[in-house]
């Protein structure tokens, strides 16, 4: 199945998700408001997206963008789900109940970005030690050990 067929399939099954779907550089992207995130991903799960490849985040200053990559083995198609949460209150619903693989992925995002996944069964740091201060992948993270390469490359 290609992206256009996926759009038709998605729109037929879940008309309310249809306006959120876009195609960016050949990739299907579903951009949802953070409040509808869990509901939308649950619909995708029912649609046949059985693999959650990754969960990650990008620091865009005022907001964090959360990026989920889901894939369907049956339809042979992948899809991004993107949502934004404000920096001063980074909270989002967890999808562990839909895809258990989100367990470690969300812990990693919590560890490195400080985004709280509500409903996660075991939200702890995973890569860094428990007493680490700060979230290193945020753009404003400062650490004496972090050396910036000079601008001349």
């Amino acid at each position: 199945m290609n992206i256009t067929e996926l759009r038709e399939h998605l729109c037929a099954q879940y008309p309310d998700l249809c306006p959120l779907f876009s195609i960016e550089f050949g990739d299907g992207v579903l951009t949802v408001p953070s409040a509808r995130m869990v509901e939308a991903t649950s619909n995708l799960k029912d649609l046949g997206f059985d693999l959650l490849g990754m969960v990650t985040a990008v620091d865009f200053g005022e907001e964090f963008e959360l990026v989920y990559r889901v894939r369907s083995r049956e339809m042979h198609v992948g899809l991004f789900v993107k949502t934004r949460v404000p920096r001063d209150e980074p909270r989002i619903g967890s999808v562990v109940h839909l895809w258990p693989s989100a367990n470690w992925q969300e812990r990693e995002v919590f560890d490195l970005f400080g985004i709280v996944f509500e409903g996660h069964p075991d939200l702890r740091r995973i890569l860094l030690s428990d007493d680490w201060v700060g979230h290193p992948l945020r753009k404003d993270y400062e650490d004496p050990g972090l050396i910036r390469r000079p601008d001349y490359l």
């Binding site: 960016e24 550089f25 990739d27 059985d50 693999l51 959650l52 490849g53 990754m54 990650t56 990008v58 620091d59 990026v67 990559r69 083995r73 042979h76 992948g78 991004f80 895809w99 258990p100 693989s101 367990n103 470690w104 992925q105 990693e108 490195l112 995973i126 890569l127 860094l128 030690s129 290193p136 992948l137 993270y141 972090l146 910036r148 390469r149 490359l153």
Partner: protein, 405 residues
Amino acid sequence: MLPPDTEPDAGAAASDAPPGAIGARESVVKGAATTVEGRGEHVVVNIGPSHPSTHGVCRVVVELDGEIVTSAEPVIGHLHRGIEKMAENRTYLQVVPLTDRMDYVGSMYANWAYCRAVERLAGIRVPERAEYIRVIVCELQRIASHMMSIGSTGADTGAFTAFMYAFNQRELVVDLFEALCGARLTYNYVRPGGVAFDLPDGWVDRCRAFLEQHPDAMLEIDRLLFGNVIARARLKGVGVLDPAVAVAWGATGPVARGSGVDWDLRRDDAYSVYPRLDFEVPLGERGDCYDRGRVRLWECVESCRIIGQALEQLAELEPGVIKAQDLPRLLAPRPGDAYDHIESARGSLGVYLVSDGSVRPYRMKVRSPAFSNLALLPMLAEGHTLSDLVVVLGSLDPVFGEVDR
């Protein structure tokens, strides 16, 4: 499908379940552990982070009831170097050597996955010859990586001979890589837009000579390790992974295929020149350590077929055209994002790149198959003995450079 089980060696006719003997898995499988619960005290044992059987720097906090594991929690991050953060501080080309240091048993894969994401982001077309060379080196890398895994399965189960046999084969591959790019472990060979060097003179013949003897060596290891009475007793029925659980937990690669999950990106999301190559995807049935090991073994045989065909098709292409034309010295891709994935020796390895239009990636995320596969350890190890925990961990084939990044 996998070929039928290797015949057990002499004297092992009843090896698979002699009651009371070393192979009596029933006494230690799930359920048996619950009968002793409440009788004794639980002991917490820390294994690692620096322990010969954890295949790297992994700490496993194990709770034991006698010798039975009641819970096992991997504590990862001991090799976390912040590669994703470092990448934000380097140009696109300077990131390639960092990717070498993620999966250091399969550096070519990380190189390739990263380069594919960059090429997608910057809209670079890779010459056909470079694509064939990439497929050849990556299939060789699969053999080298699986030899490491199968060899350490032997070492974990006390069959050190098999370890030496497997490493003998791995050594031949690493020699080929050394002739190709001068490095034996961190190659920095696949670059955005192509590969670093063309194949040197005589390399194709050396590669063919390797392919000629490799399948026979695999049959020998199949007999030596997977036909061995002790290895069979240690591997069969241990760490059984249900296919539905494998999919739900995002397991990919030989770990999922050992359980019969028919999923291989080389075929199911065919990239590069794989659609032109004919190969099979070996699948296990039982999902235990034995099947995961044998899936890796037969993947090596299939890799030989792939390389053979790729070498034939490569011979018809003009030598020297290994890099995209008009590549700028300093890549500054369009603002936006791109994700691409390949089938590495451990599963689907993906790289997600975000660009803000500058010469450095704004964000790089690596979707690591070893990370996802390792999350299964608590489930697989529970109810087995402590010595089986080591085997289960080995069968997941984690490389901690990639788990921790």
